[in-house]
């Protein structure tokens, strides 16, 4: 089988990290530590490169007719505001009060608003699912409805019965399905990783 130098480097680095997890050796530990520091440096450089690429793309968007100029301007102004607040002389960087205010007062509410759309999107997804794959969607939505009924805030003896039913649903069928999925995912992830390491997944077109 033919391997590229990059793949060989990946395998060697992976084996060093794996060995360091099992063997206590100062030299091996320092090599593994160096590799992890290199990874952090690489990630930092990539983050800088990614930020530059994002800014360049939106700068092009501002200049190109027919593109989403307003969106690009908003992104660039946002990036500029955070950079200015974090890098101005006398700033405390990420802990600067202005940066923290920008995050707490603008970013967090925006993200919260985005997640608030989930309920609406779930209803839309249910409608779309019934149109695309009626049988599977009916089963899934039926199961969801049963769970919702069991979780209804009802008092008295019926409420106790529903609560007990909800507990049973969570601990038996739902836990069983989740564990089955996790076992399947773990096995196939291991098989996939082995296939990559042993060169089985080479492209043969």
């Amino acid at each position: 089988m033919r391997r590229s130098p990059v793949a060989a480097a990946v395998i060697v680095a992976g084996l060093v990290i794996l060995l360091d997890m099992m063997v206590v050796n100062p030299s091996l530990g320092s090599v593994a530590g160096s590799l992890q520091e290199l990874l952090v440096l690489l990630a930092a450089a990539a983050a800088l490169g990614g930020t530059g690429a994002l800014a360049a793309r939106h700068l092009r968007g501002v200049l190109q007719p027919g593109s989403d100029r307003l969106g690009s301007v908003v992104v660039l102004v946002g990036m500029g505001a955070v950079l200015l607040a974090g890098l101005r002389p006398g700033s405390n960087g990420a802990d600067d009060p202005i940066v923290r205010w920008l995050v707490a007062s603008l970013l967090v509410p925006l993200i919260t608003a985005l997640f608030a759309l989930l309920f609406v999107f779930l209803l839309g997804a249910a409608r779309r699912g019934l149109a695309l794959k009626a049988r599977e969607s009916v089963v899934m939505l039926g199961a969801m409805s049963v769970v919702v009924i069991f979780l209804l805030p009802v008092g008295g003896a019926p409420g106790d019965w529903l609560a007990a039913g909800a507990g049973w649903l969570r601990s038996v069928p739902l836990a069983g399905v989740f564990r089955g999925l996790l076992i399947g995912v773990a096995i196939l992830a291991a098989v996939s990783a082995t296939r990559v390491l042993l060169g089985f997944d080479r492209v043969d077109e």
Binding site: M21, V23, L114, L117, F178, L181
Partner: protein, 280 residues
């Protein structure tokens, strides 16, 4: 004057000293088991032996047809590799889903290159952006369509899971085909829904158990749980060596057999093997 014998002797001493300084974190037997047994088992069960005619996982066999329709209608294809990324702060189980999604992208990129359909890949991890750029370039080289490579683009939309979802929701253009594969978080429904709603045909796949509703409800083709990894074998083997399915089935049967035998042994009053294996 130093000679080759001295050099070899020093190297041997260096190795011996290094071994002398070492100790095993887990002890010899568990280390040997961890290193050797899974490798032998997996290399045996994952070895290609025969052809496998599985069902069309995720309707990926329709990708070529969807690309042809996109070419006719003058639209593009869009791919999102989930929101987990490769170096973002997330679990290894999610990162390996991203790698599986890159393998699926490899197949999709070749189909797009052949059909002359512009392909746009959105990522929220800069390292992944480099990997995807290489994947797209290789797809054009393999299909001898290097002159079309400028039409395949990678967009780093910014860091963070909500950013990926917001980018998908705010994309107002119509696409011929959309594929969302990889690790998903709580924003999964928004990401998959945003991608699928503007597309003529869509595929969604994830092995994140809590986010499976999104691909199940929103997309035409679905890769749920282990299917995401099974589809990788289909894509890599191009239909000729679908061995990951065989390997997984063997392992699952083995796991079931071990569980049944262990349960029977415990029921008959024998030693609890599960407790022994987990060190209780």
């Amino acid at each position: 004057m130093p000679n080759i014998g001295d050099l070899v002797g020093r190297l041997i001493r260096l190795v011996v000293d290094a071994l002398g300084e070492s100790s095993l974190r887990l002890g010899p037997v568990p280390t040997l088991v961890i290193l050797v047994v899974p490798l032998i088992v997996l290399s045996l069960v994952a070895r290609p032996e025969r052809r496998w005619a599985s069902r069309d996982l995720g309707a990926l066999d329709h990708v070529g047809q969807a690309m042809a329709r996109a070419a006719e209608s003058g639209t593009d294809a869009i791919v999102s590799l989930g929101s987990a990324g490769l170096i973002r702060a997330t679990s290894a189980a999610e990162r390996i889903q991203t790698l599986a999604a890159v393998a699926i992208l490899d197949r999709v990129a070749r189909a797009a290159a052949r059909a002359a359909v512009p392909l746009r890949v959105t990522v929220n991890d800069p390292i992944l952006a480099f990997l995807v750029r290489g994947t797209l370039a290789r797809a054009h080289r393999q299909t001898e369509t290097v002159e079309r490579s400028a039409r395949s683009t990678v967009d780093f939309v910014g860091d963070g899971r909500p950013i990926a979802a917001a980018a998908a929701l705010t994309d107002a253009r119509a696409h011929g085909l959309s594929i969302t594969a990889g690790g998903l978080g709580e924003e999964g429904l928004l990401l998959v829904g945003g991608m699928a709603s503007s597309s003529g045909w869509s595929v969604g796949g994830s092995a994140s158990p809590s986010q499976l509703a999104a691909p199940l409800l929103e997309t035409h083709g679905t890769l749920v749980g282990p299917e995401l990894f099974q589809a990788v074998a289909e894509a890599g083997g191009a239909g000729r060596a679908r061995t990951s399915v065989i390997a997984a089935n063997r392992l699952i049967l083995l796991a079931v057999a071990v569980m049944l035998l262990g349960s029977a042994a415990v029921a008959l009053g024998a030693h609890d093997f599960a407790a022994f294996l987990v060190g209780r």
